[in-house]
Symmetry: C2
């Protein structure tokens, strides 16, 4: 059964791809076997992260980028990530619907993901989904997130390079930039560049980039001015994107980043699996309840008990 | 040496208390022994969480609450938590400096915490610090956070009850409330109640509270109108607070919450400790590097390797 699915995916069949991503979202047990079977077919796609605040016109911009890439005959897939935060949720989807016009085009695959159960978290599910799309032969895989929380940063770490979309007049962006987003951005886009304050925003980004330490200055981070609605600056942006990727391939950055990504992923999933063993142990046989009683009745003190139990758990886990 | 520190703390000496909290912040190894030694002296204090968006006047309000509690001869300690997020940081501290006038009063202890290294995260460090303050004989321990991220919610879980401070005209609060903060709020305060839209905000909170499921409606959540600057409504608020705590003690909610808190804490620290063992193992002897090479060269597939290694790690951990 997995053989058939694998076959469908490597032949780029939309239904097989969609099914595989659902497996990943729902964390079905066969997921691991599937990813392993696809693994030898991966490694060819370029992975682009796109992030930016709500209202920056990311989706319209992505729409234009898809048009450009299709003109160049590239197959493109988009994973729109909704972290399971109660603070984002519904509003996003409507925005993304605009991109759906591309769904009649077999060279374009668009999917919203809201992952909860995955052992490696949202980032883990995204990473596995990227492997599916990579094996399916997409040239460019775009991971789109909104905002700049911890989850989004983890998701962006999966990408080969990250495009940060900003827009004049939202005020707070530059603050956010200064505070830490800058370090994940490779390419900066000032969208709605027809707006008055666009040049000031560009100057501010340049200033912030200028503050980077010498060590980080090796690669020049380009800033592009676009208007998704007026369809201006898009070709330059897409050209710039490809040039940047090529440079990353040549100077070793790409190899280095992919290595770091695999390392992070491996550590995270190994830790999560061991954690799951531990939680299962804690939930079994009411161990935890007894210990809580001992603490609440002051029969023992918390760290004493914890340290005893850690040793005991390590022993018992071995015997499984 | 720990004996002397313990002695200082249970006699309420400010220097000893401050030192213990620094130990916790810096995650020094003796921290565990200290907490365990203090443990039998804990369990008497009431723990109040105060949260709300920046600009809600939380600090001024807390200032007034401290005044009220001091009139009633209660000893009060405040832990102001700065989660190590790049997005909050500096601005907060200035705001908190206003409270410093109380520092000449031996019945008041105020401390900003920015914890990074603690195994149980910010919430773990806060929880250990609360134990120190509890052992030191404070009647009321206030944990103050800003905003409503995941970290803040975890910190608020340490409190016996949570006061949510809102203010008219910030617009977004009610959205945030609807989205999930409501579930952590026990007592609601509309601060700056002299402002025009205060009554509308109150009505909106009432509406949101009305949406709670039947199951959650058992306890009535009071809403108080205050003005910290005009010093109105504070006495009512403090009275309401004590009544609410008394009711929680009588109807078993307090016992239940404390049990849940100890459970969460225990699980979290046990898991973190085992995780630390795993990470140490992964970092030793370049195991990880070899595995990454195997994956990057497609000599193995990721989950196959992960599952083999999880078994191996569980075995090796046992032997430590």
């Amino acid at each position: 059964m997995i053989g058939k699915l694998v076959n469908g995916i490597i032949h780029g069949e939309t239904r097989s791809i969609a099914r595989a991503i659902s497996w990943i979202e729902n964390d079905v047990p066969q997921k691991e076997e599937l990813i392993d079977a696809l693994f030898e077919h991966t490694g060819r796609a370029q992975i682009l992260g796109i992030t930016g605040p709500p209202g920056s016109g990311k989706s319209s911009l992505l729409d234009r980028i898809i048009e450009q890439e299709r003109k160049r005959d590239k197959k493109i897939a988009v994973l729109a990530i909704d972290p399971s935060s109660p603070f984002t949720g519904g509003a996003i989807l409507g925005d993304r619907l605009r991109m759906q016009k591309h769904t009649v085009d077999a060279g374009v695959f668009i999917r919203s993901m809201a992952s909860r159960g995955h052992l490696g978290g949202v980032a883990g599910a995204t990473s596995d989904s990227v492997k599916v799309l990579d094996a399916a032969g997409f040239d460019l895989i775009v991971i789109e997130t909104i905002g700049v929380g911890q989850t989004e940063i983890e998701v962006m770490n999966i990408a080969d390079l990250v495009m940060l979309v900003l827009v004049p007049g939202l005020g707070d962006e530059i603050q956010a930039l200064k505070a830490g987003v800058m370090e994940i951005g490779d390419i900066f886009v000032v969208n709605k560049a027809d707006k008055e304050e666009a040049n000031r925003l560009k100057a501010e980004i340049e200033y912030v980039l200028h503050l980077k330490t010498e060590d980080e200055k090796g690669v020049k981070n380009p800033i592009f001015m676009t208007s998704a609605t007026e369809n201006t600056g898009i070709e330059e942006l897409v050209n710039g994107l490809h040039e940047y990727m090529q440079r990353m391939g040549e100077n070793g950055t790409l190899r280095e980043r992919r290595r770091r990504r695999v390392t992070l992923e491996l550590k995270k999933i190994i830790t999560a699996k061991i954690e799951a063993h531990v939680h299962k142990f804690l939930e079994t046989g009411n161990n935890l309840d007894v210990w809580i009683d001992q603490i609440l009745r002051k029969k023992t003190s918390p760290y004493k008990l914890i340290n005893e139990k850690v040793i005991q758990i390590l022993k018992e886990l071995k015997e499984k």
